[in-house]
């Protein structure tokens, strides 16, 4: 119970900071502006065309949430060191592992807040366009996005302890946005390379987070064709996210634990 | 030669609308060549704001501040000034020598000047031989010493020091006092704020007191000596601020 409370207090402070610093609002505002631009396109006066809106909105929400998560996550731990706010915190009877976990949950909470704001716009937008919300697929998509944010947060924490905040930011954004591309290039290169190269590609595929696995937007978009994912697949994806988030998070904790303050 | 420091009717506010707060109101004073003036006041009285306005870091709502006749904000006025900020961190990725080279070159020193001056100022502040050390390894007190060194590097005619003895150990404070005495004797003009009133008492020939953004008292050397015979500057300051009687 006490630990739970400590977790909550730390997580809440992260969320408070995120919300008070207004960055999230700007991200949301920019996103909404772009979605607004998308809906302002007149489609020859035809009604019932929802895929354009769906795709634009889902793509923007995914991108902006990821941006918010990376921006928030990479600065959490380094800033505590830089501004020396970590001393009064760790002067309490608080294990360092709990501290990292609380920070991670806080970032996740802020990202969820962000995503919820987007959904507040997306869902009425779909109603307005009289499109099918495809709520089962959409629900699965949102769930996978949350898993992805967890993965991104733990990865960003690890990066921020290995590198300076700006380097971690650069790397985090690069890994996230180029993840799909890296995967596709690896698929092609695998055909071309020799045994050593193949081993390298195989290792990289399993070491790097595969963010492409958490983007169901393609199926949400064409929901009239695709059925929701089966439970075993959802379970496997959940397992993947848990294991990899756990590994990165544990790595971050291991570095943080041994770090002289 | 123009007057080192002139402050006339200085008023500075922070914030906007209903949250607007007057930090300094109609403050006027001057500091003449060769004077050593202490600037004292309680926390939040407006000392740092006045000094920042003097340096051109913030802009007055009303009034004017001048350094050697040039309005604050004009780089020319800062040509002969050495300044120590209230709280400053110095680039952690630099070495002490590199930092002083940076500040020295900006003040117009040549390479030859720098080669000559850097060991001297480091020695003066008690950091002799630490030229090659990275600043991230420096303690708070050492950073403060380095701050004094950067203020002195270009042999300025006027020194403006904000909370000069903050973070120094007793030995450091003693050394600092000796250094300031020496500079004063050499004819430098010194204007500094401090909470160490004994320091102010022993160094200054004039003390300016500020309370809630307004100048509340100016103590000349004669008065200071008179005060010194009866009571300490500290008790005088407390009675002035609390009672408002001394004016």
């Amino acid at each position: 119970m006490k630990r739970g409370r400590a977790l909550w207090v730390i997580a809440r402070s992260v969320m408070l900071e995120a919300i008070r610093r207004k960055e999230i609002y700007l991200l949301v505002a920019a996103c909404l502006l772009l979605i607004g631009l998308a809906t302002s396109v007149d489609f020859f006066g035809l009604g019932g065309l929802v895929k354009f809106y769906r795709e634009t909105a889902l793509r923007l929400m995914g991108t902006f949430t990821a941006l918010a998560v990376v921006l928030l996550a990479v600065r959490q731990l380094p800033r505590e060191f830089e501004q020396r706010t970590i001393y009064p915190l760790l002067a309490r009877p608080l294990p360092r592992g709990l501290f990292v976990l609380g920070k991670g949950l806080g970032v996740l909470g802020a990202a969820l807040f962000c995503y919820a704001l987007f959904m507040l716009i997306y869902v009425p937008g779909m109603w307005y366009l009289e499109g099918d919300l495809a709520w089962r697929l959409l629900g699965q998509h949102i769930y996978l996005q949350v898993l992805q944010m967890g993965l991104l947060t733990s990865g960003a924490f690890l990066l921020s302890l290995l590198f300076s905040p700006d380097a971690a930011l650069t790397l985090g954004l690069l890994l996230y946005f180029a993840s799909g591309l890296i995967g596709q290039v690896a698929l092609t290169l695998y055909e071309l390379t020799n045994a050593a190269g193949r081993l390298l590609l195989y290792t990289a595929t399993y070491a790097l987070p595969q963010f492409v696995l958490f983007d169901l937007s393609g199926k949400v978009l064409h929901s009239e064709i695709w059925s929701p994912l089966s439970w075993p697949v959802m379970a496997a994806l959940t397992g993947y996210a848990m294991v990899y988030s756990g590994l990165y998070g544990w790595g971050a904790y291991a570095l943080f634990r041994r770090r002289p303050l | 030669m123009s007057i080192p420091i002139q402050v006339e009717g200085l008023t500075v506010s922070y914030g906007r609308g209903a949250k607007r707060v007057r930090a300094v109101q109609e403050v006027s004073f001057t500091v003449a060549e060769g004077e050593c003036v202490g600037f004292i006041g309680a926390n939040g009285a407006g000392k740092s704001t006045t000094i920042k306005a003097l340096m051109g870091f913030i802009f007055p709502e009303q009034g004017e501040t001048r350094l050697y006749g040039a309005p604050s904000g004009d780089p020319e006025g800062r040509r002969h000034v050495g300044y120590l900020p209230e709280v400053a961190l110095y680039y952690p990725f630099m070495r002490a020598g590199e930092l002083l080279t940076l500040y020295g070159s900006l003040s117009g020193l040549t390479r030859a000047d720098l080669r000559r001056r850097i060991p001297i100022v480091l020695e003066q502040v008690g950091l002799g031989g630490r030229e090659r050390e990275l600043l991230r390894t420096f303690s708070k007190g050492m950073q403060q010493r380095l701050g004094i060194a950067q203020a002195l590097i270009a042999e300025p005619k006027l020194l403006i020091l904000d909370e000069v003895s903050a973070g120094l150990d007793p030995l450091g404070r003693h050394d600092l006092r000796a250094l300031l005495q020496e500079l004063r004797k050499a004819g430098r003009t010194i204007f500094f704020s401090s909470h160490e009133l004994s320091e102010v008492e022993s160094l200054c020939n004039r003390v300016i007191m500020i309370d809630q953004g307004r100048l509340c008292h100016e103590v000349t050397q004669a008065e200071l000596q008179a005060v010194g015979r009866k009571q300490s500057l500290e008790s005088f300051f407390i009675s002035t601020v609390r009672g408002g009687a001394a004016t």
Binding site: L27, L189 | V87, G108
Partner: protein
């Protein structure tokens, strides 16, 4: 160069080299070079594959150079203010706009150095199996420094108005997103007043085997970039001069 710029540029360069982020990007770019080397050793059979690798390598180099420039530039002033290292600097007889100019120049120098460090190895490593116009390559190489100057100006401008993380986000959106946004300008003409450093990216033009820009086009593009840079940097200087610290 204005007096006072040199030492500030030097200090910024020192920081860029000594802090670890440059190391990371260098490692990443090194990994990419290794990949290209592998492709060269294995041997590419289809000319189109060579072209795409060349396109990818050059594009990533250009983007990484802009990213580095942007991050270095957007960090400078907010960090100096946060850490209060700005006070001892501005206590010297240098004007504030010189300080902004120096920070801008330093970021552009870092980005340009980075760009040239990688663009030539990339170009050399990828087997070039199709016909490319080397005059276009020269133009590509010449136009990148102004493009990076523009990116630095965008980042500096956002950083004098916004807190650091926000400045980085907005600058990222402008630098990498404008290319997409301005293409809507036929519908919303006001969008042409968003700067677009990626317009000077001639990588695709080069890998498509298209000839160089005419001298008029080239000069127009260069002038356009300088104008943008001047406008943004000038605005940043004006703002910083008026900003209470």
């Amino acid at each position: 160069m204005r007096r006072g710029m040199g030492p500030i540029i030097r200090a910024t360069l020192l920081e860029a080299v000594r802090r670890r982020e440059m190391g990371v990007v260098l490692i990443l770019m090194g990994a990419m070079l290794a990949l290209l080397l592998a492709a060269r050793v294995v041997g590419l059979e289809r000319p189109a594959a060579g072209t795409l690798l060349l396109n990818l390598g050059l594009t990533l180099t250009v983007m990484a150079a802009h990213l580095v420039t942007l991050l270095v530039a957007a960090r400078q002033l907010p960090q100096e203010m946060e850490q209060r290292t700005l006070y001892p600097l501005l206590a010297r007889p240098i004007a504030r706009h010189v300080m902004v100019g120096a920070k801008w120049a330093a970021a552009a120098v870092v980005g340009t150095g980075f760009f040239y460090l990688f663009v030539l190895p990339v170009w050399w490593l990828v087997p070039r199996l199709e016909c490319y116009d080397s005059r276009t390559l020269v133009q590509l190489l010449v136009l990148q420094p102004p493009a990076l100057m523009l990116t630095a100006a965008i980042a500096i401008l956002t950083s004098v108005y916004l807190p650091r993380a926000l400045a980085v986000t907005v600058a990222l959106l402008v630098v990498f997103g404008t290319d997409y946004i301005v293409r809507w300008a036929t519908r919303w003409p006001v969008l042409v007043w968003i700067p677009n450093p990626m317009r000077l990216n001639l990588v695709l033009r080069y890998t498509d085997g298209i000839g160089p820009l005419s001298s008029v086009e080239f000069a127009a593009l260069a002038t356009w970039t300088l104008l943008w840079t001047a406008a943004l940097l000038g605005q940043a200087m004006l703002r910083f001069e008026r900003r209470p610290l």
